[in-house]
């Protein structure tokens, strides 16, 4: 007990003197705040991108691409193949119809708000069943497109990031125009960055004839996945690859993984820099307080008490820096929406930075790590200092 009390009183004394040493304490706080802010921002970017992509996938949905294709853009399936697969067991049915749809994925060149040149926006031609397969998609403004017309609906991410995609706007496709009639939301997933139209209209625009890019299926339950897989395999002339949507979208988020690794690498490098700065500061903080430390020891405080008190001081400063850094990242970036080229699809995905609890936790762990390393050596050094030598430095 008395050890804890001693540590507490020495820590208290140290902390009260922090104000007097505000310059050097600030160095530790700023150094750590900087590292944490950087790491948290980059991780929040990765988190936002990867959750946008992986939110899209569900275990009880299946996506079928041409065997050998890694993305919808490079895949082609004939509508006759969609018909063949539609008789597979394991597919949920709705009013007697199997829940399967052929979808065309293409890209279209439009101008991003505030940009000079154009960017690639995903354009998806869908069948009516596509909406039943994806109940999370809801029209939030306007109405859905009418089949057989050149009407389009626009995801809210695309609506927000691109010029000329408000209701009533027209976009030029080849020698005609398509009219925006609705805006949809879709649980914050990748579809919100897309433009949707009727499949037949899209096949006309992109000259695909009776070809789609992928098939999407809702399963009776996620356990019937194998039934579809086996059914497709039983037709040797179907060169198709069956995978769960979850699996497919997880593979698409490799860009996010890279940003995440990059964020961690940069965060750790910065942390090393901050460790050096903290060490410098703590060493000089300790050396200017050698007399105090010597006095405490002469009064009977143990070396371990001094060590513990100095460590607590370093960790408190580190925590303050960590919280400051996380707060900076949160204020600057949380919810900030950007869009970028998503790997594989050559098209833009909009996503929002997500400063989640987990990301903040990683940042604070980094802060404490820097505080620990930055504090332990100087504190150790001070604690085993010879009392007479320390006092002599007056």
């Amino acid at each position: 007990m008395s050890f804890i009390r001693q540590v507490f009183s020495v820590t208290n004394m140290n902390l009260r003197s922090i104000l007097k040493r505000s310059g050097s304490s600030l160095v530790i706080i700023i150094g750590i705040a900087g590292s944490v802010a950087v790491m948290v921002s980059l991780l929040a970017m990765a988190e936002g991108l990867s959750s946008t992509i992986s939110n899209t996938g569900q275990d009880d949905r299946v996506i079928i691409l041409r065997d050998g294709s890694g993305s919808e853009l490079s895949s082609g399936v004939a509508m006759t193949e969609v018909d063949t697969v539609s008789s597979s067991p394991g597919i949920k049915s709705l009013d007697g119809e199997p829940m399967i749809a052929g979808e065309l994925f293409a890209i279209i060149d439009l101008t991003k708000k505030g940009a000079d040149s154009t960017s690639n926006l995903p354009f998806r031609g869908v069948q009516q069943m596509s909406f039943e397969i994806r109940p999370e998609l809801t029209i939030i403004e306007g109405r859905n497109f009418t089949s057989g017309t050149a009407e389009i609906i626009v995801g809210k991410g695309a609506n927000n990031q691109y010029e000329g995609l408000d209701i009533g706007d027209q976009i030029k496709v080849r020698d005609s125009f398509a009219t925006v009639v609705g805006i949809f939301s879709s649980n914050g997933d990748v579809h919100e960055s897309e433009i949707w139209s009727d499949l037949a209209a899209a096949q006309g625009i992109f000259r695909r004839g009776a070809i789609a890019s992928s098939m999407i299926i809702r399963l009776e339950s996620k356990d019937t996945f194998d039934e579809v897989g086996l059914y497709v395999e039983s037709y040797p002339n179907l060169e198709l690859k069956v995978q769960t949507e979850t699996n497919f979208y997880d593979n698409q988020s490799s860009g996010a993984d890279l940003i995440k690794i990059f964020g961690q690498v940069v965060g750790y490098i910065m942390a090393i820099g901050a460790v050096f700065a903290a060490l410098n500061t703590m060493y000089s903080a300790v050396s200017t307080r050698l007399v105090e430390i010597g006095t405490l020891r002469a009064l009977g405080f143990k070396g371990t008490t001094v060590l513990a008190a100095l460590m607590i001081e370093a960790l408190i400063l580190a925590m303050a820096g960590g919280l400051l850094g996380a707060a900076i990242a949160y204020i600057l970036f949380n919810g900030y929406t950007v869009s970028t080229l998503a790997g594989g699809s050559f098209s833009q995905t909009a996503f929002a930075f997500a400063v989640t609890g987990e990301v903040i936790q990683q940042g604070l762990t980094l802060a404490l790590f820097v505080g620990f390393i930055g504090g332990i050596f100087p504190a150790w050094n001070a604690a085993r200092r010879d009392i007479t030598e320390a006092l002599r430095s007056i």
Binding site: S24, V27, I30, G31, G34, S35, A37, V38, S41, L42, M45, R66, G68, S69, G70, L73, S74, S75, G76, A106, I107, I108, D109, S117, T118, S119, N120, K172, V173, R174, D175, I205, F206, R207, N237, E239, S254, G255, L258, I259, F262, V265, V266, I269, M270, I272, G273, A274, F276, A277, N280, T281, Y283, S284, V338, S339, T340, L341, F346, Q348
Partner: protein, 382 residues
């Protein structure tokens, strides 16, 4: 250099602190190098694309094909010397990680790229062999391909009539005399066009060589005007602008990563500046003593500045060296995310430049206050 002793004693005064200062500067420059390389990667293709070549793509999207009939009409435009075409092939060589661009192209495609040097007999073999393929030297080295090898490519965008794997015969390699880019593969258009399941007769985009680069803009406009309001409208830009379009699309992210790196760089420099002025403050009596024995104000200022220079340059060199050593690891991570990342000498040069500026900025205040020291006050501090 005769005062080196004095500067050195300043540096050696507290070895631990010097060591730690140098290494915190080194980490700043490690971040700087990584940031520079990311910036370079985002602009990589832009640097060496020709400005006497235009790329004509479909206005709808660059992935859409164009009719072959466009060729003659583009050729007829005044100032156009050669028109060739290509199509993005996609496809996979064995594993998806083995990604490289593959383009079906006509025989005379290489005429438009005079900076590429084809291996002996490659052009002739490519024209003769309908399944011929010419690849960049780097690519051949990477996969250990020899001329005469049969290269299988698994189809994705372009299935073969009747299905199955595409196979091409390696007939030659090319090297690029003006840049390191030699990692693409070219396959014979005739075979591709006849054997593919759909869209026969439609190229992807046209590459247009023009006589005078100054006319690029007006020729581009004229080409687009030709096809206006047709089913296949075009968008024509210089090769450079076309590459830049991709860099801009990654846009925001590149910008954010770079500004975050810049922020971290400056945080660390701020800390370093603080350490340096602390080091000078602690030494006030010693500097006073130097003045007392006759060193001038300018000498004192130079001593402090020299120390700052030493720390910054040493830190910068160590940081760049570490970045250089870590580089293979880092660029491995970045493949697929952006273009190929290469460690260029320009990073070293800009790092040294920045180190100089940093040294001045972080050294000038302590140096100035050291210069202004009053001998008596300084000595009294003892």
């Amino acid at each position: 250099m005769k005062y080196w002793m004095i500067v050195k004693s300043g540096i050696n005064r507290k070895k631990i602190r010097t060591f730690m200062t140098v290494f915190s500067i080194a980490t700043a420059f490690l971040l700087f190098s990584l940031g520079r390389s990311v910036a370079v990667a985002f602009n990589s293709e832009v640097d060496f694309a020709g400005n006497d070549r235009l790329i004509v793509v479909s206005r709808l999207a660059f992935t859409e094909s164009l009719p072959m009939a466009h060729k003659n009409r583009i050729e007829a435009v005044e100032g156009v010397s050669t028109v060739v075409w290509r199509q993005w092939f996609g496809g996979t060589y064995k594993e998806r990680q083995n990604f490289f661009p593959k383009w079906p192209v006509p025989d005379n495609y290489f005429d438009v790229y005079p900076e590429w040097e084809l291996s002996e007999g490659a052009q002739e073999a490519f024209s003769r062999n309908i399944t011929g393929m010419i690849v960049g030297k780097d690519l051949a080295d990477q996969f250990g391909w020899e001329i005469g090898d049969r290269i299988p490519i698994i189809a994705d965008i372009w299935p073969k009539k009747g299905g199955g794997v595409w196979e091409f015969d390696l007939v030659g390699t090319y090297t690029n005399s003006i840049s390191e880019e030699q990692g693409e593969a070219f396959i014979n258009w005739k075979y591709f066009d006849e054997a593919r399941l759909y869209e026969t007769g439609r190229p992807g985009n046209y590459i247009v060589k023009i006589e005078n680069p100054d006319q690029a803009e007006s020729i581009a406009k004229e080409i687009d005007e030709l096809f206006k309001n047709s089913l296949d409208e075009t968008k024509t830009s210089t090769e450079e602008a076309f590459s830049r379009m991709f860099a801009e699309q990654i846009g925001n992210i590149g910008l954010i990563i770079n500004s975050v790196l810049a922020a971290s760089f400056f945080t660390i420099l701020l800390l370093t500046g603080n350490t340096m002025s602390q080091a000078v403050r602690e030494r006030t009596p010693e500097l006073g003593a130097l003045k007392a024995v006759g060193f001038t104000d300018r000498h004192i200022m130079l001593f402090v500045l020299a120390e700052s220079f030493f720390l910054c340059i040493a830190g910068a060199l160590i940081g760049v060296l570490i970045a250089y050593l870590l580089f293979p690891l880092f660029s491995g991570l970045a493949i697929g995310f952006s273009g190929e990342i290469e460690f260029s000498i320009s990073i070293l040069i800009s790092a040294i430049l920045v180190a100089f500026i940093t040294a001045v900025i972080s050294g000038v205040l302590p140096a100035y206050s050291a210069m202004r020291l009053n001998v008596v006050d300084a000595l009294r501090k003892n």
